[in-house]
Subunit: 294 residues, 2 copies
């Protein structure tokens, strides 16, 4: 595409790349700073307190991961090999960005389609290293810690054990990961993918586990693509701050959120969600959905 | 409109009304149960705990407040008198619904426009009485309580005092209320309207205060309507559970959230928001925006 900054031939339209995967002399995956970055990679970290008003400088890193040179080949349609390179790149950039001393936490996400907030159609993900830990992450950690203190168990492991026992909300499983629709899913077809063995941080996943996850995630995204007819979706890696690697009470996972309903006044006004789909039915639908074109 | 269930003449298309304001023998405001209610007004309240899995029956009340018989007359274009009737109805239904012993909390909100999640164009608000207190409300209460224990002050009063002192984020003020864009607004033109005198619950607002609020809110919504060219928006009343009336540490308020940006992967993945507009500039814009057609 002549006017797409992520297409081959237009490399000069992006800031200089920070990472690339090459194959046969051409790039397969390419990482560049976001041209319209939410944070400033050159800024110094400063904080100011003035009573209730708290300010922190916008120091941080905001990169774009261009997942394929092919403008039209959306993530689930990549080959197994190419898909694995994307996940490997996710982890490499996660590790690189969290190594910056100004970065307290990195959020890795993907917006697919207009309802999911994409402005550029070319397949890409984003990673934002912020100078603060998102309150949402802190809340999850506090709740997980409280559960651990009361029971001696990781709440994520405990929840996953229930899901595996029940079985009815499982969508797919591999050697090291399980994909399911949680018992209290917030929205229809909201998927979680958990590592089966307790692992606190995304950066703790081994090369072998990542390759296994690539196969499972590709299968799940293909079921969503063929079964739900290419819906808009958000994908996000839920992991604690990098300093929290090795925690016994926290467990990283991946969320896939098809945007089939809208966030409206009730959700904004209450923070709760009305889900019109039964998780068991949605899981059954995706379990039976084809991972190949019919 | 022949096919609009909220237009005069189609009253039979809604469930039997629970409240109406009449004028000259016709209804001006009409309240009906939501035909596609999120909760069941006839259900018994039951709870079940099975380890991490918690279930509560969907007992509760979900009503629609039809704000005007005129399909095309959006809320800010109502006369002062009609607007005041709407706010009065909000409070009456809030009081009626929270009196139901199964209702732990009532969320009152309005979706205007497709991006805000409206499916029906005819001006209306909704009120949902849920059998649980939304975690978002509990979180706000916990934080407010901690602040009160540390300082002896209501955090909302304290924040408002800062805003009044700074002045630069104030949009409009009346005898009893102030409308401002908060220092750390989550999205562009995100407005808060606070009662100036400490009041815990929406149901504690007097008739006189509600009449004053009606005038101010109408002015603010007209500034949004004429200044931002009728954007989609959500409106929501933030109030603690009904049992929390009279609290010294909590303070009700009203949020107006123009939907000029989208909630995408970063917001979903981190719970934080990227606001591309400076609150001071947005406030200045709305302060100067006309409340009358130009």
């Amino acid at each position: 595409m002549a006017d797409c900054p992520f297409c081959p031939g237009n490399e000069a339209k992006t800031p200089p790349e920070t990472y690339r995967v090459e194959r046969h002399g051409a790039w397969q995956v390419r990482v560049v700073p976001n041209k319209f970055a939410a944070l400033d990679a050159g800024a110094e970290l400063t904080r100011r307190h003035d009573g209730l008003k708290r300010t922190i400088s916008g120091a941080g890193i905001h990169e774009v991961i261009i997942e394929t040179p092919d403008h039209r080949r959306t993530l689930p349609l990549l080959s197994e090999l190419d898909f694995a390179e994307v996940l490997d790149t996710y982890q490499r950039r996660y590790n690189a960005i969290t190594a910056d001393p100004r970065v307290a936490h990195a959020t890795l996400f993907k917006n697919h389609g207009e309802r999911a907030g994409t402005s550029l159609e070319h397949p890409h993900a984003q990673i934002v290293g912020t100078p603060i830990i998102p309150p949402q992450v802190r809340d999850r950690m506090e709740n997980a810690l409280r559960f651990y203190d009361e029971t001696g168990e990781c709440i994520f492991c405990s929840l996953m054990a229930d899901e595996l026992l029940d079985g009815v909300r499982i969508v797919a499983q591999s050697k090291d990961f399980v994909a399911f629709i949680p018992f209290a899913a917030l929205t229809p077809f909201h998927l979680w993918i958990y590592p089966l063995r307790h692992t606190a941080s995304f950066s703790d996943a081994t090369q072998e586990q990542l390759a296994d996850l690539a196969r499972l995630l590709r299968t799940v995204l293909r079921k969503v693509y063929f079964g739900l007819k290419n819906p808009d979706y958000n994908l996000s890696i839920r992991t604690p701050p990098h300093e929290a690697r090795g925690l016994r009470y926290y467990h990283w996972y991946l969320s896939v959120i098809p945007r089939v309903t809208r966030i409206a006044g009730f959700e904004i006004g209450s923070g709760m969600f009305i889900n019109t789909a039964l998780p068991e039915k949605s899981a059954e639908f995706l379990r039976c959905a084809p991972a190949e074109p019919s």
